[in-house]
């Protein structure tokens, strides 16, 4: 599994349409301006492709920060 820093770097590249936003472990997705359901799909697809882990939309709705997502991936590996 990637370190959290590498995970955030890859995530940043995947969500490159989001401008002027610093990503750190405590960043909450819902606080990101312009965050949309499209980004949820991008994130779910990214986790599936990069880590071969399936996260469904319901699981994702219980998560709030980037670190929460990282922990979920870790717990599923």
């Amino acid at each position: 599994m990637d370190t959290i820093d590498i995970f955030i770097r890859k995530l940043r590249e995947e969500l490159d349409d989001i401008e002027d936003q610093e990503f750190n472990p405590e960043t909450s997705f819902r606080d990101i301006e312009d965050w949309s359901s499209m980004h949820v799909l991008i994130l779910i697809a990214f986790i599936d492709t990069e880590y071969d882990i399936e996260v469904n939309a319901e699981e994702f709705s219980n998560l709030s920060t980037i670190n929460d997502v990282y922990e979920l991936i870790n717990s599923k590996q």
């Binding site: 349409d17 949309s36 359901s37 499209m38 949820v40 799909l41 599936d48 939309a57």
Partner: protein, 349 residues
């Protein structure tokens, strides 16, 4: 699991037709420019074809069928089976296939009926036509598949409006030696409301409330005769079910990726289809897209992609996987052999 094979039926030709009216998602001004950019990048859908007033699915399928019959030099009285697959028929009743029997000047002893399926409909339709050809001994059959989805869309619903386009197709099949087609077909009705037009049938007849618009979320306003799409649920369903189905049918048939020339997906959206492609480890050049030009054309997306993207690549013998998934929920995969298939130019009407 319903995996089965049908021998000695060939697909002889495929034709498709789209409306001449083009709409670009760059002009979809209901959302901001930033949202438009993200939408086009993520879905891969740039333009869509929109049916003109009065233009129906039947019309587009009829054009496709006439062109295909002529290019194949088929005698119309040899056609014994005519199946129409669509969720946008001309009438609640009678079935469009029967109207088409007359419009196509086919014999009265033709077996004609409709099948009500969307995104998975092409694969299901192939399985039904092939089975009937085997059972009846008829020599030739037509499978007409298409949808006009855009008349059910609400401009103020960004979760559906920029995704769908219209199209119709015709596929010719006949008894032919040395051919084997594999199918795997599946269904899950627990997700029936993930893609639905709720009103207008017997469950929810048209009422005073049908055309009242509701705002469900930011940028999602629609009434009960509009198409509803739960994008997240459909995304999860597809990610969960499609790759395993394709893997299992490949295993059943004893094929690997290298035995397959092209993998043609239902054109849902680029992000989703690319994720499935990567899961299956198929190279990009084997997975064609017509999404950019036509959007999601429901049941028509597989034949339309073959006509628009593979016309010049299907020379001699080719082995293809066709995979449709969506409304129902319903999903199906076929492994088909194309031998000297006839593909007329795309009809634009």
């Amino acid at each position: 699991m319903a995996i089965f094979s049908i021998e000695n039926i060939a697909i002889n030709g495929i034709a498709a037709a789209v409306p001449s009216k083009v709409e670009s998602n760059w002009d979809y001004d209901y959302i901001s420019e930033k949202e438009r950019k993200l939408l086009i990048k993520t879905t891969g859908i740039v333009e869509r074809r929109i049916a003109k007033k009065g233009q129906t699915t039947l019309d587009l399928c009829l054009l496709s069928a006439n062109k295909l019959i002529n290019e194949l030099n088929w005698k119309r009285d040899e056609i014994g089976i005519l199946i129409f697959v669509s969720q946008s028929a001309d009438y609640h009743l009678p079935a469009s296939s029967i109207v088409l029997q007359d419009k196509l000047n086919l014999a009265k002893n033709v077996i004609a009926f409709d099948i009500n399926l969307g995104c998975s409909g092409y694969v299901y339709g192939l399985s039904v036509v092939m089975s009937l050809l085997k059972a009846t001994g008829n020599k030739k059959a037509l499978l007409l598949v298409g949808d006009i989805s855009t008349n059910g869309l609400n401009y103020k619903d960004k979760s559906t409006y920029p995704l769908f386009g219209d199209g119709g197709s015709a596929t010719a099949l006949s008894i032919n030696e040395n051919n084997k087609t594999y199918f795997q077909l599946q269904s899950d009705g627990s997700g029936y409301d993930a893609i639905i037009i709720p009103d207008g049938g017997l469950r929810n007849p048209i009422s005073d409330t049908t055309f009242i618009e509701n705002e469900l979320d930011s940028g999602i306003i629609r009434h009960s005769k509009n198409l509803h799409l739960n994008g997240l649920e459909v995304f999860n369903f597809t990610m969960r079910e499609v790759a395993p189905q394709i893997k299992s049918i490949l295993e059943h048939a004893g094929y690997e990726e290298e035995n397959i020339d092209f993998l043609v997906f239902h054109q849902a959206n680029k992000l989703l289809n690319e994720t499935i492609r990567r899961k299956l480890k198929f190279p990009k050049e084997k997975v064609p897209y017509s999404l950019g030009k036509y959007g999601n054309t429901s049941s028509c997306s597989i034949p339309l992609t073959i006509v628009s993207e593979l016309k010049d690549k299907l020379i001699n013998n080719k082995k293809l996987i066709l995979s449709g998934f969506g409304v129902g929920l319903s999903w199906g995969t076929a492994i088909v052999d194309f031998k000297d298939i006839v593909i007329p130019d795309l009809i634009i009407e």
